[in-house]
Structure formats: C-alpha cells, structure tokens
Symmetry: C2
Subunit: 785 residues, 2 copies
C-alpha cells in the first residue's frame, strides 16, 4: 500500500528504478563503449572507445528526474517539456529519448535493437556523431548545453502563453553561479497563472563544478531555503543518496508540487488573477556521479568532482576495465533489454504516449506549432514624404505604431521584450493596447503595468534574450528592442542561438521557427543623454562572424524603410535579423513606394540626389545608416552648391549583406552588379554607421576596393550634441565634402577655396556648440539635382 510520503508501491518502485538503471546503463555505454553494447562478451579493451569524452557527473541525476516526471505525466496526462540546464548532461537526455522510442523515430539508424544500441553508443562524442551536451540534435531539447546560464529564462519563455504546458527546468549548481541564471529566478514576477503555463525549477545540487565546489552546495540549509523564498518560491527539498528512499521522496514531492501548480492555476483561472502565486520548486541534492564507481585508484569518485567527466579516463590502467564492467553490470542490463537489445516491455510501458513524451513534445520543436502572424498593413503607417528631406519623423516611433497593431492582432503569440527601453526607444504606441507585464505588486500611479501585459521588461538583457529565445523555440514570435551599445551584453547568447539555428538547418525533423528580431536604437550617433560608455556599434561585426545562412543586418535610413524592413523580418524564418534605426526626429527621404522598392533591392542609387544620369560619375557617395545618410546628403547638398558640374552618384545601403560577394552571403550582389553601382575606378566615399573597417571586410574582394574610403565610428566622443559627435569621428558633412575634394583632382583651384569655406563653416558650428551646448538649427534647404 502507498501513502502520501511513500506513494510508490513495490511494483512501481521496481519499474521506476529499472527505467533509471536502463538510462544510466545507456549513458555509461555512450561514454565508454565502442562495441559489445549488451555486454554479451566479457568487456575487453577492444570494446572501449579510443577517445573517452563526456560528462558522467550530472547524468544520473538528470535521468532520475526524467523518470519521475514521466510518472506524473502518465498518471495525470500532463503536457511537459524538460529543459536540461546542466550543460553536459547529453548522455542522459539521449538515453531517455531512446528509451521513449523517439530517438529511433527521428533517427531510424539508431533502432531499438542491438545494432542500434551499438550505433547509439558509438556516435556519442565521436567524429561525425553527436556532441556530448544537449544540442539541437537531441529530441525534446530547446536549450543548448555548453555555455551555461539560460535554462530558466528559456523555460519561462516557453511557458508564456502556453497555459497547458509545464516546463520542468533542471538547474545545475554550476550554472546557478552564472549571472543570467541568478537573475532569471525573478521570472516568476512575470508569469501569469491564467494564460501562461507553469515552470517547475529543479535546482540540482551535486556539489561540484569541473574541479571546485559550488557556491549553493556550500551554504547552510537555512540560507539556501531563505534564498529561494526570497526569490519568491516555495522550495521543496529532496535530499539523499539511497535510490529507493530517494524514489519515494521524489515521487511524493512531485505529487505535492504538481498538485500545488494545479491549485494555483485552478484558483487563478476560476476566480481571476489576484496576487503573485508562490510557485513551488524542488531542491534535489544527490551525489555527483550517483551510482558510479565509489572510488578509482584509491580516490573517492562517486559524490566528488572526480565524477565530473569520465571517472576512469585511462582504461589501460590496471583494474579500470574491471571497474567499468562491474559498474555497467550493476545496472543488470539483462533485466532491462532482451537479447536483441529491445527494452523490456514492462519498462517501456512507463513512457508516456506519443506527444506526451517529453522527447516528442511539439513544444520542443516549435516550428511544428508555429502559426504565421496576422500582419497589419505596414503601409498604413507610411510617413508622407512630399520630397526627399522635406519632412521630419521619428523612425522608431512610426515603427512602434506598426508593432502596436501586431500586438493587437496577435494577442497570444507575439510579445515585445526590452530592458525597460520600450518607451525610451519610442515604441510608446504599444502601450495604447497593452501593458508592461508584471504579476508583482502594482501601485496607483504606475503607468501601463499589468498582469496581462505583453511587453516584457526587466533590466536584464540576458533575461530578455533568454525569454525571447524560449518563446521563439516553442513556436511563437517576438521582437527585442535594445540600446545598441548594450546589446553586446548578450553577444554570447546570440552566438549560441545562431549556432543552434545553423545546426537546425541540417536537421530535417527540426521545423523552421520565427526569426529572432532585434531593433537596436539609441544608437552610437545619438547619445545626447549619455556618453562614451553608450557608444558601440560593434554588434554588427559580431553578428556577421556567424553563418551567412542565419544572419541578416538592416540599416534603414528613415521611417518608411524601417517599416518595410520590419514587415519583412517578421515574415522570415530561422534568421537572426538585426535592425539598427534611430529614434530621434530626422529628415525622411523616401515615400512608401520608393521605400518598398529600395528595401526589396537592399541597395540602390538615389537618383534625385545624384547628377550622373547618363554618364559615369566622378565620385560615388555611399551611405548606410540613418545618421551617415543624413550627413552624406548634407554633403551632397554642399557639393551641388560648390561644384554644380561635379558628377556624383549617391548609393544607399539598407541590407548590409548586399556588399559581400554572393559566395559569402546569399544576399550578396554579383561582382557585375557591384561594379555597375560602385564603378570600377572612381573614388567611393562611404559613410557607415559602425566601425569603418567592417565595410572593407565586406568589400575587399570587389574590383574597386582600392578606391574605397570609409568613414565611421572610431571610438571618439562623449555626451555631446549629435553634430559634435559626427565631427569627432570625421563622419560629418564637412569632412565628407573634404574627402571628395581630396579625391577629385580635376576640381583644381576652386577646390581649395571651397575647402576653406567649408572649414570655416565647421569651425562656426563647433564654436556655436561649445557656447550654446546645442547644434546650430538644422539647415533644411536641400539642394538636389
């Protein structure tokens, strides 16, 4: 008979433990065995892999949790996924997916028979095989192991707007030391029990990292409990090392916490949201390398850091083979698998059915669930532009209205993420239809804060990125708006997501997901409020180091182009789209039709600013980014004034990848197209938003590269006026004009005069700024051809 504290009868206990033993057996097999998967022969060195790689330490704990989650899934027909934070728990997750049958379904070569098991073992950490950590190749995973810190953010992102889903999230005590993880516990202030699902965090304390002890395993129990109560959870402890005792304890605890989750949800869903619930979490303390060799070469191994990777790495040492064979046989494989390698039916029956298997949940292959966004017509928000430069607008404010309509039309699968910068980046319109999300205390006087808000703001770029990734990976859509300089905070998270997408492109069963879209605003050129520390346009450089197939970079020069680009990005799949755009009032260049045409091409001549029609220009003025475009067109106005005969061509670049050869990026212009635009021998003055050498990097193979002169940000400036900032970096109109004069020798003596006049003008500007602290009022008598 069973009780609340002993919920498993002896049969259940035996079967659960058998599954766990099977998972552990398969894990050790993956780490060690090259052959002899069922141990039909006595183990010999020939059966051992030549390179022993992998991480045993965290693995048995992950499998222990897995089988217990399966019990409650099956008992209560729950929809769950499993986020495995501990980076190198690959063997466990693969083993359980194999036991559930999913692995063989998606990889028919790895069948549930002896040969399949041999392949399963061999492929692990083997050239041409699978990595040692949880990866896109692992069915059921939405979280790359390896770099640590994002498991819980991913889990909450998965739970948002998934009311029926429970996301079990295992957090290792190594990972728990990272900054992103330490703040991600606060995600519970943003989870709504009515329309979101639940996250069940399981902090897995096994005491050691690679070599040293972990912080959370070495603080007193009362501190540990206080910490998680302080984070707003109700912690439940499961501690010990005796498997049978631990099974009962874990089963009882899971019954309690699942009931508690359901009680919270039922209450909120029946009576409405009232106050932030105190969600349960589990603290599981179990030995590192649990059930592994107690000692190796006379040194304690189970329960110590020596279990972190491969407990016996050198199998030629005396006794090691015996230890391994005893270890493997301790799981009694003959009770688990029949002679053909098939899992004992009684054990196999523990797996949930079909999509209830965590390894087969469509939520962990979000493309399966992805619905297209209902798209408002971005043309409805067009800024009327009677003539180029004839009207001013704030580009991101206009974009914000489009985003508002998206929020309204897609109330359950589109969210906006930002570190408290939604309003600052001028997406205020969004607050006409929704709030900032918070299920914490709300005070009279708060504006646009509510428990149903679809704007996810926490002052943690990590948290925003992690939530959004989790949301996208489970089949939804979103947008991340951020100050340009501080998006570097998530450089490494970007890397992991880009690598995830790259790998997914080669996995047929992984279905495409919505692209990850960034708006980077409050950019390097407009830090009126801030200073040098807020100036860094290098995220673009970082992004284009990743595979061309997954990254896109857009620099729309005004509001209408920004609208067109935004629409395009939101319809795309499996990309990371970086959009850089200013929020300040600035001249508008293209009406909507021209903007669409320009964005579709990605790059083009602006004929109204050029006067080279019907002939080769003497100089090409290229620009990418809103401020460089403004300065270029102001320079063009000056040039038309001073040198009306000078034939110049203005090229604007929206899609940066157009500059690369097509061999490097699918968007790249052919050499012929590039030469037609940029000529093969005329000087090119290129005003670029970011670090100037990036343009060289993109174009160094082009015919006319040796005539290319790039201006961009060169780490000069601090809190100052917009114009002073471009001057400090030589990107201003006057410097651009001087660049042209220097490169068109035929201008002759007239040039020296013009250069002096322009220099005087610049000095006048600078003096005005030094005295008044603001720029001279913008001159708006554009001179086009």
């Amino acid at each position: 008979m069973t009780t609340a504290t002993q919920p498993l009868d002896s049969e259940q206990l035996r079967k659960l433990d058998a599954w766990w033993r099977a998972a552990n057996y398969l894990s050790v097999g993956q780490i060690y065995l090259y052959d002899n998967p069922l141990l039909k022969e006595p183990l010999s060195l020939a059966h051992i892999k030549p390179r022993l790689l992998g991480h045993w330490g965290t693995t048995p704990g992950l499998s222990f949790i897995y089988v217990h989650l399966n019990r409650v899934i099956k008992d209560q027909d729950l929809s769950m996924i499993y986020v495995a934070g501990p980076g190198h728990g690959g063997p466990a997750m693969v083993a359980n997916a194999y036991l559930e049958g999913t692995y063989s379904e998606v990889y028919p070569n790895i069948a549930q028979d002896e040969d399949g098991m041999r392949r399963l073992f061999k492929q692990f950490s083997f050239p041409g095989g699978i990595p040692s950590h949880v990866a896109p190749e692992t069915p059921g995973s939405i979280n790359e192991g390896g770099e640590l810190g994002y498991a819980l953010s991913h889990a909450f992102g998965a739970a948002f707007d998934n009311p029926e889903l429970i996301v079990a999230c295992v957090v290792g005590d190594g990972e728990a030391e990272t900054g992103p993880m330490a703040t991600s516990w606060h995600s519970n202030k943003f989870l709504n029990p009515i329309h979101d699902g639940a996250v069940l965090p399981i902090l897995h304390l096994n005491g050691y990292k690679i070599a040293g002890p972990t912080v959370l395993a070495r603080i007193p129990r009362d501190e540990l409990e206080a910490l998680f109560k302080g984070y707003g959870y109700a912690p439940y402890f499961v501690e010990g090392d005796d498997p049978m005792t631990m099974h009962q304890l874990m089963a009882a605890t899971l019954d309690t916490v699942v009931a508690e989750i359901q009680r919270i949800q039922n209450d909120a869903r029946a009576f409405g949201f009232d106050t932030r619930p105190r969600w349960p979490m589990i603290i599981l303390r179990s030995p590192k390398g649990w059930t592994g060799p107690e000692s190796v070469d006379g040194k304690a191994t189970e329960g110590t850091f020596r279990s972190h990777q491969v407990p016996m790495a050198d199998m030629t040492r005396p006794g090691h083979l015996k230890i391994l064979e005893d270890w493997l046989r301790s799981y009694r494989p003959e009770e688990l698998f029949d002679a053909t390698g098939k899992l004992n039916a009684e054990i196999a029956a523990l797996a949930p059915h079909g999509e209830r298997r965590m390894s087969a949940s469509p939520h962990a292959n979000g493309g399966l669930l992805l619905r297209d966004l209902r798209m408002p017509d971005f043309r409805d928000h067009a800024v009327a532009v009677p003539s180029p430069g004839g009207v001013d607008a704030e580009a991101t404010r206009v974009q914000g209205r489009f985003i508002r309509d998206l929020v309204r039309l897609n109330p359950d699968n589109f969210r906006v993420f930002s570190p408290d910068e939604t309003a600052s980046n001028r997406w205020d319109a969004v607050f006409e239809v929704t709030d900032r999300c918070s299920v914490a205390q709300i005070l009279t006087g708060d504006e646009h804060v509510g428990p149903d808000g679809r704007v996810m703001e926490m002052l943690s770029e990590h948290q925003c990125e992690g939530w959004l990734e989790g949301y996208l990976l489970t089949g939804r859509h979103g947008f991340f708006s951020c100050y340009e300089a501080f998006i570097h905070i998530i450089d490494s998270m970007f890397n992991q997501h880009a690598k995830w997408l790259k790998v997914c492109n080669h996995i047929p069963w992984r279905r495409p997901i919505a692209s990850l879209n960034y708006l980077l605003s409050s950019h390097v050129w407009r830090q009126d409020h801030n200073g040098f520390s807020h100036q860094d346009p290098g995220f673009i450089d970082h992004v284009i180091n990743k595979k061309a197939a997954v990254i896109r970079v857009y620099l729309p020069p005004d509001a209408n182009t920004l609208l067109s680009v935004t629409d395009h990005c939101l319809r795309s799949r499996n990309y990371i789209n970086v959009i850089v755009a200013g929020k300040q009032s600035a001249p508008q260049w293209l009406d909507m039709d021209a903007a669409i045409k320009h964005c579709t091409a990605g790059i083009g001549i602006w004929p109204w600013a050029s006067n080279d029609q019907g002939s080769e220009p003497e100089v090409v003025m290229a620009c990418a980014g809103d401020v460089p475009t403004l300065e270029t067109l102001a320079a063009v106005t000056l040039l038309h004034e001073h040198f009306p005969e000078l034939k110049l061509r203005v090229i604007n670049v929206v899609d940066l990848m157009k500059l690369q050869p097509p061999s490097e990026h699918p968007h790249g212009l052919s050499d012929r197209e590039f030469d037609l635009l940029f000529t093969t021998d005329k000087p090119i003055i290129f005003a670029y938003h970011g670090y100037p050498w990036l343009i060289h990097r993109l174009t160094y193979r082009r015919t006319n590269h040796h005539n290319l002169h790039v201006r961009g940000y060169k780490e000069e400036g601090t809190t100052s006026t917009p114009f002073d900032t471009v001057v400090k970096n030589d990107l201003d109109r006057f410097d651009l004009v001087a660049d042209v004069i220097d490169r068109v020798p035929r201008l002759g003596p007239q040039a020296a005069y013009a250069k002096q006049a322009i220099r005087d003008k610049l000095i006048e500007h600078q003096q005005y700024i030094a005295e008044h602290g603001e720029d001279l009022p913008e001159v708006r008598d554009w001179k086009w051809v």
Copy 2:
C-alpha cells in the same frame, strides 16, 4: 542628547542636512543651470541650459548616503571608497567631490567660488564637458556608470587584499535586476575577514527604472529580507521619506553596521578565521527624486518614474521656471554658500581630511598605489627545444609554472581569476602554492580549496571580470584565464573597461594601472570534449574595435613564446592584453633565445622552415596561432618533400597588431617592413587562428593584399578530433598545400600528381578518424631545409 537610535544631536543633524542640501543644490544646478549659479538674480530662461540632460532620480539618495558615510569616516578615521552603482548618479558624485574640495584640486578651473560653480554647472552633460554618469573623470570613482551590473563585483575586487579598506557600494534597484549583479551578491563567499577589507552593500530601492517599477521594490518585505539572508547577509532596513527621521535612522544604522564590520574583522584577526561571517548590508528605501518637485503639470513626480531624468524637461512651459526656482531655493543656498560661492566653513568641516575623503582616496586612483610585481625569471621555465618540432609540450601548463612563481612571490597583490577553469586550462602548478579561495563550507575531500586561496573561481565570467577590474583599478595585478568561446560573455564589460582606460589616458591625475591580462585557452581548434557551441574565436575581432592605444593581441605558437609574451604583458600598464594559447600537448618550435627574439619582433621569418634564403620566395606561408602554425609547418614539410625546388618563406605572427599600418596601431609594421616580409607580388597563404576576414581587415591597405589568401575558422565542426576540426574548416595541411599548388602555376604537371597524392592522404586520414574516433598518430618527421 543622543541615543543609539537617535545618534545625532541637533547640531549634527542640522549640519549633515546642510551638506545634503548643498549636494542636492549643486546637483540640480548641474542638470539645469547655465548661469546664475548662486541664484543672485531671479531665475530666467537665459540661465537655463539649452539641452537639459541628466538623471535626477537617483541623485539625492546617493548624496544622502555620501554625507552619512562621511560622518562615520570622520568619527572613526575610516578608510573608505564609494562605488556608485546607479549609472546616472553623476551629479551627486561630482557635487560631493566638489564639496570635499577634491574636484577643485584636480580641476583647478572648477574652483570653489562663484565662477567655479558656474563652470561646474555648465560642464555637466555639455559638449566638451563631463558625461552625466560617474566616469573616469569623477574623482573617487572606480566604476563607470551607464551599463549596469558590475558595481558589487568591482567593490569586492577593490576589497581583496586591502584589509583596512571599507568599500561602500550602492546598488540601484534597476541595476539589481541585471544578471551579473544578481550573482555578485555571492562574492561574500570569497572575502576573507583577515586579509581582505570589507564591502558594505547598500541596496537603494527607489522603486523605478526609466519607466517601469523595479522587481525588488515590488516584492513583500519578508521576501526581500529572506533574499538577502539567503545571499548570506544581515540586512538592515532604512526606510522613509522624512529627511530628519531618515538622518537619524541612517546614522544609527551606519553606527551599527560599522561596529559589526569591525567586530567581524577583530574577531577573525584576533582568533583566526573560523566560519564565513554574515556581513551586514543596508536596504535604503527612499523616494525617487527625493526633495525634488512633488508634482509637475499635475502629475506626481517625486517618488515616481517621472523623476528618473529631468523632472521638467521643457522649461518654456508655463510654471516650470517657477518650479525650478522654488526647488533650488528650497535648499536655502544662501545658508550654504557665501556671496563668493565658497562653502560655509561649518559645512566644509564635515569633510574628512586629505586622503580620507572618498573622492581623494588613492584606492580609487589605483595607479598611485601600484607596486611592480616581483617577477620570477620566465626563462627558468623554458622548454628545451633541441630542434624545431623535436619535442612536445603543453604550453599553458608551462605557463602555469611561471604563474605559480608569481603567486608565490607576490602574496598580497596578485590573484588569478577563472570560471572554474584554472586546472582545466592546465595551470595546475598554481595549486602547489595556493588554493581556490573559499570562505564557505569546506569538506574533507575537497582539493585545493581554502580561505586564503589566491585563485578566484566562480562559475561566472562576469564575476571574474568584475573582481579583476576592481582589483586592478585599486592598484594590484591579476590574470584571467577563460575558455576562448565563453569570454564573449564579458564582451560588454571589456568594452567598458577599454573605454575607461582610453579616457584615463587623457586624464593626467589618473595614474597608470596594471594591464588586464586574458589567457584564452581551450580554444576553437581543440574542443575534443566539447562541440560547436564551444567554438568561437571572435573575441579578438571584438577587442580590436577598441582604441589601438589600449589593446594588444598575442598568439604565441608554443610554450617558450607564451612565456615571453606572458612576462611582457605582466610588466605592461594600462592595456588590455589578450593571449590565445593551447593547452594540449603540441610540437615546440623555438628555444628560449629564439622565442624572446621572435616575441620582441612580434612577427618574423622562420628561416629553418624557409628555403628562400638569398632570393625572393615563390610563395609566403604565414601563420598566427598554435594550431595554424602546426598545420602550416606540416604543409611546409609536405611541400619540401614534393617540391624541393619550390622557394617558400614561412612567417609567424605573434603580435597580431604588427599586421596593421602604423597609422592604425603603434605596433604596426611600416609598409616597407611589411613588403619586405610579405613581398609585393607573391602569393601569401595565411593560416589564422580566428575568423579569416580579420586578417583582411588588418592588411587591406598593404601592397600585396590582393595576393593574400587566408584560411581560418568558418563556423564548421562539432565534437571531433583536432585534425577533423581543421579539415572541416579547410585549415589543414593538405588544404594549405593545395592552396600553394593552386597559386604557383609553374609547378606544372608535377602539381596535379602531388595534389592527388595529398588528397589520397587526406581521405585516408578521414577514414581513419571515422572508424577509430581519433587522429592518425602524428607524423613527426619534419622536413626542414
């Protein structure tokens, strides 16, 4: 009379409050006033700055804390510094430094008179002036405001090995949401009360970020208390809004916590270290924009997010001028400053003396305290290299012995920082002389863990970087060792530190500090244990976007060059040195004399591998990085075998910056030197450690750039053998040979035969790997000339 809860008599209270009013007056003045600093005339629009920038919200709280810290400093002759986390609290820190006299000492133009005050006000957030946040220009600061999250890590870094120092660290509730801050509270597990100083964290809850409420201000008091008890602190609450009540409460609390700090230190110093102390911290809850306008335009302002920046931004609106004048006059400036602008002597007397002033502490201008390291002779660790390639060694293991000697010789001003990778990166030797630092629980069986350890390991790259920065900025030395891929986690922190150093180079009173040194190991080419997620050599790309004056990148190809580079970096000042080196056993090329010569040059021909002596080569084989060097020399061996007549030159690059023109980096080779090395017209096959386009970026202005062909990492690979990884990225010896053959047409028909032979060899290798899971045993019959 005074009591423990009312420690201030009325005189003290009056004076403290007067200082606070003075600081607030000066802060509002900085944000708003262009002229009329003493309000001698009625305020008019002419006195207001044209661009109103700055952040009022956090400012009064920062000054409140400042004056109270001054009281205890003075009462007890304490040595303290003040780390101001809230990014935009610039006005407060500048105001207090000005009141203390320090500001006028370092900036004599900003004197303590009316004209000085006018300049003080005007310069703030004004072109040519100072930024709105705490910055290198701010005396007393070691923490750039702006990007948030690092204040507490910096504070602990400052306290390590500074037993007499108390670091007061104010953490804003916005900043408290960041990941790095959330984990940095755990720094208390690494602070030794005997030989380290104390950190007094002051969590400043003022409730709002830019626009939304903060997480920690909206959780119940019991949760907040539990959280910080869980973090291991004893929290003391100071809450309210009535200034006089708050003064008594803050004073009483500071008396208590300073006494508690002293009790902890005295106990430990008298009786030895026993258990981790529960250090006190303060939770200060005060209104945002405290003492500012209660409401503006009918909307509540004090105590709300509307105080975050400039409460009245548009001063032409009716009534705003009046609100500002009333606000300024509410501080009763006539009581604070005399008609000449001099601070009332009674108030001025509140400042501590000389270096006890937090704005004048030498700890906050660490270069003043910097002592050279006692340097062991790196030559003592030289690997004997009888012939190039004739012996193998693990480069970082050899380096680790040098680091061990440094630790031993510099027991109080050198530490090693790493996210649990010291042993993994093979600096094991360090543990012969010291431990991993931990003042938390230590268990039997732990290895090399102790409360006096000088190896700072927490699984948070943010924490390691922040600690190290704090340690360096207060005048000490250190080294950060990290897996190459995951150093991107601190990209943005690197940015901030590089910008800090760049600005300091222009501030005469800021004295040079020790360089920040990175060892990046477990690099992209040797991820035998790990996979695709651990492969990213792009930190170099990120680094070289920053000012050439502060960054250096080294790629030593073997152990002896690594030793030489390490020695050089440890002696340097005000740089960020990035060293990339492998930890695996690999062939050694240079004996110590040759290594020193090679590293001193930074780049050079390896004559023993070249056969172009006395003539122009037909091809240049260049390499940078250990694995590319190995593959290049293996290719050279093959080429010498197949084409003994082929004249080739091998160039190895240690100092990457040598490739840039001298106009771009001070290390850059002149064009003439570059041409002499790389020829002006011969093909160059360049095998590079990182993303190949970086070499193009560095060399695009060089004469022979159009003949440059670069191989490097192109985002291919996963867990596999070292050789398979280079093959996947076309950096292997066979591909390099093929590159040469393709570019030297005169090789004729012999070439086709050789190419086939080489291709066969490659296929043989790949088949071996696929079957055995490891590389063919390395062939070591190098063929030199």
